[in-house]
């Protein structure tokens, strides 16, 4: 102990001190090591699970997607689950149509809501309540969104209500809070002096928002919207009640039943026929590829954004 106190540079002396406290120090150091290893292990575990899922999907889905190559993307779905062979065009089209329609509805609304929160409402009581409700809405289970659209929109229209547009409404409910939250986050990053400069030049608040704030935040807004799209494209529960069950391609969102990749995975996963399960894996591969594409696009955009704001 005295050696430590006498030492003028305590830092190197700390090391022998710790080892001097023989039994206590050893236990503390062991505990530290065990906990550090456990932290590392948890990272490895999740990485392992992710890799296992991805490898399984690619390995089992690859053969049906590439066998007789373009057929997976150009043929409608086999009518009988027992029949082998590719064909997922109807589901790919359905996913694209429903997700695109949902994007058209949710993204403008969400951006408008975020502009209100960040540019007008700011810290007012209503804006704070709205922010809180946005977080609450983000936690509403997707199946409840599906039930809501079924009761509110599909039931009054009867059988005609089962179409891609109804599904898109449910997906839009899911996307809306995500878009609002990410857009507001991006608007908050726009420096206040840009707004002040524009206002000082005589521009109105709306003009400032539209020509100065939004363009500055655009990459971030697009990136957040892409993440919301990726999330919506993978959702199943909101579509079960709303789009019906079709096996033929239908580009029209407003009439006729439709289907989606997620619905096809769900339906085929429940089948015991290997032919159906093979199609489920193929659809899973297609869906994951689609979701990752949007996510990497969003990452590339947000990476560019952080570089432009840094410089």
């Amino acid at each position: 102990m005295t050696a430590v106190i006498d030492n003028t540079s305590p830092a190197p002396a700390m090391v022998p001190l710790l080892s001097d406290l023989s039994s206590v120090s050893g236990r503390r150091r062991n505990k530290n090591m065990v906990m550090t290893v456990l932290m590392g292990v948890s990272v490895v575990v999740v990485g392992f699970v992710l890799l296992l899922v991805l490898i399984t999907v690619v390995r089992k889905g690859w053969s049906i997607v590439v066998s007789e190559f373009p057929k997976w993307f150009t043929k409608d779905i086999q009518l009988s689950p027992r029949r082998a062979g590719p064909g997922m065009k109807a589901a790919i089209v359905g996913t694209i149509v429903a997700t695109a329609t949902a994007t058209v509805i949710a993204v403008p609304l969400g951006i408008a809501g975020a502009i209100y929160l960040n540019e007008y409402g700011k810290r007012s009581a209503f804006a704070r309540t709205l922010r809180f409700l946005t977080n609450v809405m983000a936690g509403v289970p997707s199946i409840v969104m599906g039930l809501f659209i079924y009761v509110f929109w599909v039931v009054p229209r009867g059988v005609d209500g089962l179409n891609a547009f109804s599904g898109a409404l449910a997906l839009a409910c899911l996307m809306l809070p995500i878009v609002v939250r990410s857009t507001e986050e991006m608007l908050r990053l726009v420096p206040q002096n840009l707004r002040d400069a524009s206002l000082a030049l005589g521009a109105t608040a709306s003009r400032t928002t539209l020509t100065v704030v939004i363009p500055k935040a655009a990459p971030g807004i697009i990136s957040g919207s892409l993440l919301a799209i990726a999330r919506a494209a993978g959702e199943t529960a909101p579509l079960i009640f709303t789009v019906g069950a079709a096996k033929a391609t239908n580009w029209n969102p407003f009439s006729g039943t439709n289907t989606s990749l997620s619905l096809q995975i769900y339906a085929n996963a429940k089948e015991s026929f290997p032919t159906a399960q093979e199609r489920a894996w193929g659809a899973a591969l297609t869906l994951i590829a689609l979701a990752f594409l949007f996510t990497f696009g969003a990452r590339a955009l947000s990476g560019r954004l952080s570089r432009t704001t840094e410089s």
Partner: protein, 318 residues
Amino acid sequence: MALALDDLKSKNQTADRAFRGATLAGGATIVIILGLIAWTIADKSRLAFKTEGLSFFTEPRWAPAANVYGALSFIYGTAVTATIAVLLAVPVSLGIALFTTQVAPSWLKRPIVAMTDLVAVVPSVVFGLWGIIFLAPKLTPVFKRVSGWFHGVPVLGRIFGPASSGRTFMTAGLILAIMITPIIASISREVMETCPLTDRDGALALGATRWEMIKGAVLTHSAGGIVGSVMLGLGRAMGETIAAALVIGSSAAITANVFSPGDSLPSVIAFEWGEATSDVKRSALIAMGLTLFVMTLIVNFVATAVVNRSMKRMRGES
């Protein structure tokens, strides 16, 4: 000239006000939609409550043929699977968050964050497919062995009871745990990153090991945010439908045995919907949606409040 300027000004003001109104309308849709969800779903549940009364929540039997609609076993299943998911996901998520913020060298941080985010990108139905076809058959012998170990042990013997299939409460809990790990890990990480450097350096300067520093400085500092993130994960686990529906086994059961097939609120709604032809049955399923909505609403309400409060306090402190 002055007149023209005034004219211009008022025109501009009208446009300005219209724009403000439009953005307000965008924000207000959230309030409107939330209100509509509550109102329409509650309205359509009335028939079920009229038929069953409050015993809807206490009746364990679900027998549409006998006109008995009880939600208790599904509420139980939701609670059990969500609890298993949280118990499994919390240690792993906190481990990841601590590793990224306290242990990992800076070049390793981004890859770990990106990897955790990728787990959140995988659609839930893909986890369900993987769970039912790949994981469940492999888990059956594991479950059997574990239940053998605990056979005859007082409490644990009943929790880890006999296993006959791979589609169980436990399987659903496992899949849900994978899905909520990125949520808990990313929010906890953000909270831990706000831990003041002075707290950490102070603890280390007093001779604490890294783990003691984490316990004393980081975890104490982030406790509120971590609790909030866990509750957000719990809310997500309760509401997750498709993955659970595929692997839970779909048989209404109230049992302490986690290796028994069961059912949960969202999964029974998804599963029974296609066969729901009578008005009462549909109404009962919608009433279960309402129950789920209220349950997640409470959890998310509290979680959001907890996270907001701890974030605000931390900003105030630092």
